[in-house]
Symmetry: C2
């Protein structure tokens, strides 16, 4: 039995044919379409055709950026094509397969929970750091949806009440301090003040280049990741104190910086969080890399659409 | 069928005999014992005897301050008698009735959820503001316990990363900014700087007096509650963005200040939270007053001990 998982990003649409046990049998991708829904859904249809041609997939799970309720993509500032759209309905009618849509960071979390670094855990948070900071929360073995299905927007924990504006309308949110743009901004500010760095070569600064330079020992880059990690640690402290999770899994492009980001975050958590709660919580890197979203989306489709078509799972004991 | 609920505070031990439907049939109280476990358990036994004498209660639920795991009171900085104690075992063997112990703010939340301002809601947070700031979170109709059973310690959301020390070992936690001691500190600081107020009469400043003076129009007291409310609003913003609840219920002694505290908190939430999420969430005063804890503890005993003795509730649909 196989399911198709689709992860819609700003750059690529990635898809995978995933077996019931989370094994990825086949992958494919297309360039993304941020503004044109017709072109986007044609590409998804094409991708589904390539992945599922001879496999008879039972359904499609889609991870999409933005605020995704149980019904539709309600607010996708970085992906205007999706704004206010019933993406599950569109993908379903276009492909002829049942489809379900959830937030991309929720799908990353579901993938890591079932097939990655969260295996065996009951309560966890998965943070995905890239252009923004997304999150998914698993409570008692279930994906936390909340009242609207938006689930956990940990990128919008208020970390600095007097901080800069955030795309959500607030100020000083974790995402404004811990994300690729935040890292780039810190480096550019320091370069502007004349600080020496291998990045002062006139090329565009990217978070990836900062990670690489830090690994090579560039002091500005190490300091920048360390400062970013400290802010991450403040946000994780709040998550630990509020949710009492067993594990926090950190993934996404920016997390590729590894210990240069996570060690300062852990130190901040150790200094700040209620010790009984932080001792109960491991902070670990994600295991599935950029496959997490499509694996999670496929396994979520299996769970959700499988249920809808008659399968029932007993809820975990409270 | 009746159950006994006990709410252990620093000043009083309050008890109630509570019917299955949440109706309080009888109440009683004793002065508390913060340091002497033997004296404390004798008083609980005495209280249980008075409440249950001719009613044949089926079990006892206890709300206790501090970090309470599913097994015991692990850390109770304000109640040394309880520190590290298996309170459920002690109460059970002393009274001969099955007993269950949870955090007092969790029991407040459970009471408000089943019999107070949270009736009909599926996802909610209940904040209790007094000497500290406690919280309980209901997700999908269940009390959130987390990995250790400590549940939600919203008082330890980091609101001001550079703020003052907190009893949890951290800094700038919500509780250091929104609690009776925080209100008293703000007023005393202002009086020390010569600010005029009806509270500058040489009597000890208490949060209750500040509330009363504010209601009477005292400007310093109004400003103090307003500043406290703004900090509360920053903490609530994080809770709304992370949990997507339908309702946040605010209770406890300090919440008696009513709109003078809650209106500034709501304004801060409106200015800061993701609007789709804040629009989905009502912020409302608690309905059960100081009975919430004992009602919640009794109804939790009914749920928990009733289940253990064979009754089964279907889990709410996910």
């Amino acid at each position: 039995m196989a399911w198709i998982g689709i992860d819609i990003g700003g750059t690529f649409i990635k898809g995978g044919l995933v077996a019931d046990d989370g094994r990825v049998e086949r992958t494919a991708r297309r360039d993304s379409e941020r503004f044109d829904l017709t072109a986007l859904s044609a590409k998804i249809d094409d991708l589904v055709g390539e992945l599922g041609a001879d496999a008879g997939p039972r359904g499609i799970g889609v991870g999409a950026p933005g605020l995704v309720s149980n019904a539709s993509v309600d607010f996708a500032p970085n992906m205007p094509a999706l704004n206010g759209r019933d993406l599950a309905g569109i993908v379903g009618s276009r492909t002829g397969l049942p489809a379900v849509v959830r937030n991309d960071a929720d799908m990353n979390a579901w993938g890591e929970f079932l097939a990655g670094a969260g295996q065996g855990v009951t309560h966890m948070v998965c943070i995905t750091i890239g252009t923004g900071l997304g999150s998914g929360v698993i409570i008692d073995g279930k994906l936390h949806g909340g009242a609207s299905g938006y689930g956990a927007e940990a990128g919008h924990i208020v970390v600095d009440p007097d901080g800069g504006p955030c795309c959500c309308g607030g100020r000083g949110c974790l995402e404004t301090l811990v994300s690729a743009p935040a890292i780039v901004r810190r480096v550019e500010d320091a370069l502007g003040k004349g600080r020496r760095s291998v990045l002062a070569d006139g090329e565009a600064v990217t978070a990836k280049r900062v990670s690489e330079a830090a690994t090579g020992g560039d002091e500005l880059s190490v300091d920048t990741l360390s400062e970013t990690g400290r802010y991450l640690g403040i946000g994780l402290t709040t998550l630990i104190n509020v949710l009492n999770p067993e594990a926090i899994i950190v993934g996404g492009g920016v997390a590729a910086a590894g210990r240069l980001l996570l060690d300062p975050a852990r130190r901040e958590v150790d200094a700040r969080a209620y010790s009984r709660l932080s001792q109960a919580c491991r902070i670990v890197p994600a295991a599935l890399g950029s496959d997490a979203g499509m694996v999670g989306a496929a396994l979520f489709a299996m769970e959700y659409l499988g249920k809808a078509s008659g399968r029932r799972h007993p809820a975990p004991a409270g």
